[in-house]
């Protein structure tokens, strides 16, 4: 993983506040947990039916019946609870999930998210992603700023099938931290060594760039 992506993951971890219940999506978001303070008060949820997830386990340590939704073997904490899939998504849709961090194929400037289907190429089903995107109290996305061909993932409108409309609050990329606001995308932080001009050039939608010096990560 590039250094910038590692710093993105570490930066994203700082958005998790004590006392939150958080769902970390498969892929980059899962790595956020490694950057949380050891004694932090945070309750991790996984949609296959756990709250209070502890650290991941090696195959030797693993309990065959205890995985997260991404299939990783995890451990319980004192206070872990197990429940069925209906209760698990009741927690998500009912407003008890404070934050979810998700991957993305495309994000539109109004907060639309596409991350589940590329017609003709990738259609495995949405899993729990739609409900996480539509119903978590706060939705942040972690993604490379551009795709493998260098094309922007942040754009005026998504061209792929949507996961949920106007759901994204904040975007973490290897280039920037961007907030989705009522007036548009606001650039909040920039990766070390990049200019705001470079970030704008790699973005398929207009960025509102505040006058003050932006923090680096």
């Amino acid at each position: 993983m590039s250094d910038a992506r590692k710093r993105m993951v570490a930066r994203a971890a700082r958005d998790i506040q004590p006392g939150m219940t958080v769902n970390l999506g498969i892929g980059l978001p899962t790595q956020v947990v490694e950057h949380l303070p050891h004694d932090m008060q945070v309750c991790l949820h996984s949609e296959n039916g756990i709250t209070g997830i502890g650290p991941s386990l090696t195959y030797e340590q693993a309990d065959r019946n205890l995985i997260d939704a991404g299939g990783a073997y995890v451990s319980p904490l004192p206070g872990t609870a197990f429940f069925d899939s209906a209760v698990s998504f009741a927690l998500v849709r009912g407003g008890r999930l404070d934050l979810t961090m998700l991957g993305a194929f495309q994000i539109a400037e109004n907060g639309d998210l596409a991350n589940w289907k590329i017609p003709g190429k990738f259609s495995p089903g949405a899993g729990g992603g739609m409900e996480l995107a539509q119903k978590a109290r706060r939705v942040v996305v972690m993604t490379t700023h551009t795709d493998r061909k260098g094309a922007p993932k942040i754009m005026q409108r998504c061209t792929l099938p949507l996961t949920a409309k106007a759901c994204v609050n904040r975007i973490f990329t290897d280039m920037a931290v961007i907030d989705v606001t009522d007036t548009g995308l606001v650039l909040r932080e920039v990766a070390e060594g990049l200019s705001t001009t470079t970030v704008q050039a790699a973005t398929g939608a207009n960025l509102i760039i505040p006058d003050e010096t932006l923090p680096r990560f």
Binding site: D39, Q41, L77, A81, F83, V87, A90, G94
Partner: protein, 230 residues
């Protein structure tokens, strides 16, 4: 990582309830009714409350204290036959009572907790309970739209809780408690025993902690919790 501590003094927890609040109250008969939380609600005295509860307890017990104290304007319930005062207040128009079929009240609360807008059922169709409710056709059959119920607060009685708010109920004291514990903006649980974190087996927790906002440890049980000779 560790889980947060939600233990709260009973007066601080109930102090959050203001005039006009809607409040779900657990219990079916005596078991599972949070009598101590109700007593504190009577002591603090907020008014114009909407109470959502399976029953109205019995005269001079549980939510009857709220009725007697003039704190309730509306009751959403299934059966109030054991509380003559509740029936009299309903007949005199002092309180408004909305009756639901018992399992439909459970489902409406559960739907609220599950972030659904409602459920579709044929229960009560062609009866008074179906009158005036939206109906749609699903697979050729008429179905009543029963809307989800949410509330500002839920008052829950648990047998055991840890400080994070994981709850376990006992026997028929479970009833509406786990459903209501999902369906309110602020969930206040009284518990007979506050146990150390990790003592509740993760497979046997009935209400996971993230649904619960405040855990109130009961110092002692009032006599209303006891076996009643009839």
């Amino acid at each position: 990582m560790k889980l947060s501590d939600k233990t709260t003094a009973i007066s601080d927890a109930i102090d959050k309830i203001s005039d006009g609040a809607s409040i779900m109250v657990g219990g079916f008969g005596i078991p599972g009714t949070p009598f101590c939380l109700i007593d504190e609600l009577v002591r603090q005295g907020p008014k114009n409350l909407t109470i959502i509860k399976n029953d109205a307890n019995e005269t001079d017990m549980g939510i009857d204290h709220l009725l007697k104290n003039g704190q309730v304007t509306r009751l959403i319930t299934t059966h109030i036959g054991l509380n003559a005062r509740a029936i009299a207040m309903m007949n005199e128009g002092v309180i408004t009572v909305e009756f639901c079929a018992q399992g439909i009240l459970a489902e409406r609360i559960r739907a609220g907790g599950a972030g659904l807008a409602g459920i579709l059922t044929d229960i009560g169709i062609d009866t008074e309970l179906g009158d005036g409710k939206q109906q749609i056709t699903v697979n050729g059959s008429p179905q009543i739209v029963e809307t989800a119920l949410k509330a500002d607060f839920a008052l829950i009685h648990a047998d055991q809780a840890d400080t994070f708010g994981n709850l376990a109920y006992v026997a028929t004291a479970r009833n509406f408690n786990p459903l209501m514990a999902m369906a309110a903006s602020t969930v206040i649980a009284e518990t007979e025993a506050l146990v150390p974190m990790g003592q509740l087996a993760p497979d046997t927790i009935h209400t996971p902690g993230p649904f619960v906002d405040h855990v109130v440890e009961l110092a002692e049980l009032t006599k209303e919790y006891a076996v009643v000779r009839r």
